[in-house]
């Protein structure tokens, strides 16, 4: 219809459009900018999918090798062996906790005395060495210097002795005696002071004395420990043979891949001579099909032995649980014993199921592609770069991400929304003008800076606080790890508070003032107006704020990489709320940490891309949902 389409139909007229339109050029410029971002986004998605989707067939092949080579068979036994080792370790910890708990006084006294002496030697060590070295080197040449050094040493010694503070379990007198004995030491004396060694001996003696009534427990633990030795030697014997098989299969896989590359190059080569050369090369590199049948048959011959070892271990375990004491006197020891007793029936049940599993195992059962998908999504292990077998299960990472998000949101939602409500509804204009920029300023802190503050300040302070006697009722205290889910969650809460605050404040601000006016005109107080009218009207906007805060938390990388502790393991939920004080790894952190080190195109590399796709999908879903809530608010 426009005149440009068929200008010949129309005669020129007074308002004829002429030449190049400046306005249109501007329009196209902005359109191209918008278009570019969309194209880039599409390219990113395509790249992610291209790199990521190759993961599943690759992982399928790895799982296949895992089965064919017999690693899976060995893992049936190995799993029980690991459980056995863990139980033994828990029992041993309980045993030593009991003994040390009973002679806690001697232990503390000994520790404090050594700590005092160590503090002294740390402070005087350098000056003392100078004196010793110089007096040995030559007796006369520089007596002036030696004198100076000695004076220096004496000065440092006095200072160090003065700095030794009182400790709770040593009396004033004992401390003074210790200090005096140190003062009178010869400069070249290398023995510990008598007092320190005496206390150490007293502690050892106390340990021996306390161990006597626990001899029954000791021998029970020892017999349990040795009950696993048969299985242990079986497993290590089988391990060697299956790893050899696996290496052979992998070698063949690599040769096969090379051959395919050569063939592809050959079919693409234009020169017939060149092609013939490549073809010959390909033919010669045809790998021998590795013999898997032989080793597997050998492996399966271990079946009766395995079953026998398991049955023996089960019988021993069933007997030993009855011999364990029902409880111990020390708190920590009793807790560990209880944990061992709790997991014991599961251990025995697993042992009972094992013979059937061993008999049912088949090396040639197929591994469908769905197995690799479900093993990725529901796998409990993320093990990479090991000699045994790589597993790519995201549950440990997803659990870590989720738990950190829970901590962050539990802290950030009340704080962010509460601050938003206060600033918008109750604060004076002066407070508004101060508080709002300050909260929004938090966003300006680079996350890496926040991360090292988390490591150096927050983590340390939190651990020190967790040592306070008055806080021992909190589950998980004292902290075993300085960097854990809770510290990461706290920092992420700090990062998401500005997001939640700003968006919630906007949502509250967008509630028409007519609502608040009507409410107050009806005799509602300001607080009633806020909570019964304004917040309900802003509810979907506040929900959107929370969701976007969640999106921010789950996508954050730097802080969790630095502060979450990076232990790839599903948190031990038996610890109750204490679970939140365990270290973990996250979906984002694993990509940042491992992507730089993996070989391009390997299964591991692709696994990280799939994690990236998953994160992308999660954050996209969260943002889309938040968007819907925002739209809903604009009636």
């Amino acid at each position: 219809m426009s005149p440009e389409e068929n200008p010949s139909d129309l005669a020129p007229h007074r308002f004829q459009k002429r030449g190049f339109s400046y306005e249109r050029a501007i329009k196209y410029f902005f359109a191209s900018n918008a278009g570019l971002t969309i194209v880039i986004l599409a390219l990113i998605i395509i790249f992610l999918l291209k790199e990521g989707l190759g993961f599943f067939p690759g992982y399928q092949r790895e799982l296949q090798v895992y089965r064919i080579a017999g690693l899976e068979f060995v893992d049936i036994s190995r799993k029980n062996l690991t459980a056995h080792e863990q139980l033994t370790s828990v029992l041993n910890r309980a045993y030593y906790a009991e003994i040390n708990g009973r002679c806690i006084k001697q232990m503390r006294r000994s520790q404090e005395a050594s700590a005092l002496f160590n503090a002294y030697t740390d402070q005087t060590g350098p000056t003392r060495d100078l004196v010793l070295n110089n007096s040995q080197a030559a007796s006369s040449p520089n007596s002036e210097m030696l004198k100076n050094l000695k004076a220096n040493y004496e000065q440092q010694k006095a200072k160090a002795l003065a700095s030794l503070t009182a400790t709770p379990h040593l009396t004033q007198m004992e401390r003074r005696d210790l200090i005096e004995s140190v003062r009178s030491r010869a400069v070249n004396d290398t023995d510990d002071p008598l007092f320190v060694t005496t206390l150490a001996e007293e502690f050892t003696a106390a340990q021996h004395k306390q161990a006597e009534p626990l001899q029954a427990l000791r021998s029970t633990i020892d017999s349990f420990s040795s009950a696993g030795s048969e299985l242990s030697s079986l497993v290590s014997e089988m391990t060697e043979s299956v790893i050899a098989t696996k290496e052979k299969i992998q070698g063949a896989d690599i040769l096969e891949k090379d051959r395919k590359t050569l063939l592809a190059a050959a079919s693409g080569a234009k020169d017939p001579v060149e092609r013939e050369k490549l073809m010959t090369e390909a033919r010669t590199s045809l790998a021998d099909k590795p013999d898997v049948e032989g080793p597997i048959q050998l492996l399966l011959e271990h079946r009766p032995d395995c079953i026998k070892a398991h049955t023996a271990l089960r019988d021993a375990s069933t007997r030993i649980i009855g011999q364990l004491p029902s409880s111990l006197t020390q708190l920590e020891a009793a807790r560990l014993l209880k944990a061992a007793r709790h997991s014991w029936p599961f251990f025995i049940a697993d042992l009972e199921k094992t013979p059937a599993a061993i008999n049912a195992w088949k090396p040639d059962a197929p591994v469908p592609l769905t197995d690799s998908i479900s093993s990725f999504l529901t796998g409990k292990d993320w093990v990479t770069g090991g000699e045994w077998q790589d597993f790519y299960g995201i549950l440990p990472l997803a659990a870590g991400s989720l738990m950190i998000s829970i901590v962050a949101l539990v802290l950030a939602i009340p704080t962010g929304i509460g601050a938003a409500v206060y600033v918008n509804q109750f604060a004076s204009p002066w407070e508004q003008s101060v508080v709002k920029p300050i909260i929004e300023f938090i966003q300006a802190i680079p996350s890496v800076v926040l991360g090292f503050i988390g490591i150096l300040v927050f983590g340390t302070v939190l651990r020190d606080i967790s040592l306070w006697d008055s806080l021992q009722w909190i589950p998980g205290f004292p902290l075993e790890e300085r960097l854990n889910i809770f510290t990461a969650g706290c920092l992420l809460a700090l990062m998401s508070i500005p997001t939640i605050f700003s968006l919630a404040e906007d949502a509250i601000n967008n509630v028409p003032s007519a609502y608040a006016e009507a409410s107050e005109a009806l005799g509602a107080s300001q607080v009633q107006t806020t909570f019964r009218v304004v917040i309900p009207a802003a509810f979907s906007g506040i929900l959107a704020a929370v969701l976007l805060g969640f999106g921010r938390v789950i996508g954050e990388t730097m802080v969790v990489l630095l502060v979450a502790g990076n232990r790839i393991k599903i948190p031990d939920f038996t610890a109750g709320l204490g679970t939140f004080f365990q270290p973990c790894h996250t979906l984002t952190g694993i990509i940042a940490q491992e992507l730089g080190e993996v070989p391009m195109g390997s299964v591991h590399y692709r696994a990280l891309f799939v994690v990236g796709i998953l994160l992308f999908a999660v954050v996209l879903t969260i943002n889309a949902t938040a968007h819907r809530f925002v739209n809903k608010m604009k009636h």
Binding site: A514, Y515, E517, S519, E520, L522, G523, R532, P536, A537
Partner: protein, 255 residues
């Protein structure tokens, strides 16, 4: 004792928003159980005057009374010991743009009662029904009391706001151009409602619509530039204005 027939007495009231003086030396006596209309061109201060009666102007930063007093049933409502919530329960207000809350019809009407701490369901049921009946809305909404108020038409929403304002049995009802956002049919319904409501309530209505003032009100005050130019019975003011400015306005020479 003040005559029981005077609901609000305004003595030499001056009012300012910050530095901007809006009302100058306004004095009026508003009789109880009658409809009093405030008319005048835009910006003459009639809405401001209305909003002084329940002190809803307090919400606006910088708004302050600079002189004079307002007595509601003989009590100065600008005293410092006034319970604002109680004052506003006694003086209901309906706004120009209907503004029901994002709640159900029932919860809208029950809002002021709940805010006052009355939460017993059986009591609320009766009061809500009564208020909706008085606002001539009951028959239209009785089957969907718990549906969102936003599902109602504009006229229905404004009547819901009236029901909400009278649920607490106020003595005085302030209406700030209640029909400005409504079509003629809905306006007619509200006007009919006014003649019913004035049997129970003292009503003060701000309106731009001169015809509406003649139809519904017993007394009319004409305001111009923050001053009351003329105040008297509606019939007298429209048919026989004393001031030339009033005459010019009611005959449509300016406004």
């Amino acid at each position: 004792m003040v005559k029981t027939s005077t609901a609000i007495q305004i003595n030499n009231l001056s009012f300012a928003y910050g530095a901007k003086q809006v009302l100058h030396d306004v004095s009026l006596e508003i009789p109880a159980r009658q409809v009093t209309a405030f008319i005048g061109p835009s910006g003459c201060g009639k809405s401001t005057l209305l909003r002084c009666f329940n002190r809803i102007n307090d919400r606006i930063p910088g708004a302050k009374l600079t002189a004079g007093s307002i007595l509601v049933h003989d009590i100065d409502i600008n005293r410092t010991d006034i319970d604002l919530q109680e004052l506003r329960r006694r003086i209901g207000m309906v706004f120009q743009k209907y503004n029901p809350f994002a709640k159900s019809i029932y919860d809208n009407v029950a809002f002021s009662l709940r805010a006052a701490g009355r939460t017993k369901r059986s009591v609320l049921d009766g009061i809500v029904e009564n208020a909706l009946k008085n606002a001539a809305l009951w028959d239209e909404v009785k089957s969907r009391l718990h549906a969102s108020a936003f599902g109602l038409s504009g006229g229905q929403q404004q009547r819901l706001c009236i029901a909400r304002a009278i649920a607490n049995q106020p003595e005085i009802l302030l209406m700030d151009e209640p029909c400005a956002a409504l079509d003629p049919l809905a306006t007619l319904k509200i006007e009919e409602l006014l003649s019913e409501l004035k049997k129970q309530y003292t009503i003060i209505i701000v309106t731009h619509n001169l015809a509406q003032a003649t139809r519904c009100s017993d007394n009319t005050a004409f305001m111009y530039l923050g001053k009351v130019i003329e105040y008297g019975s509606t019939m007298q003011l429209f048919e026989n204005p004393k001031e030339p400015q009033t005459e010019a306005y009611v005959t449509g020479k300016f406004g």
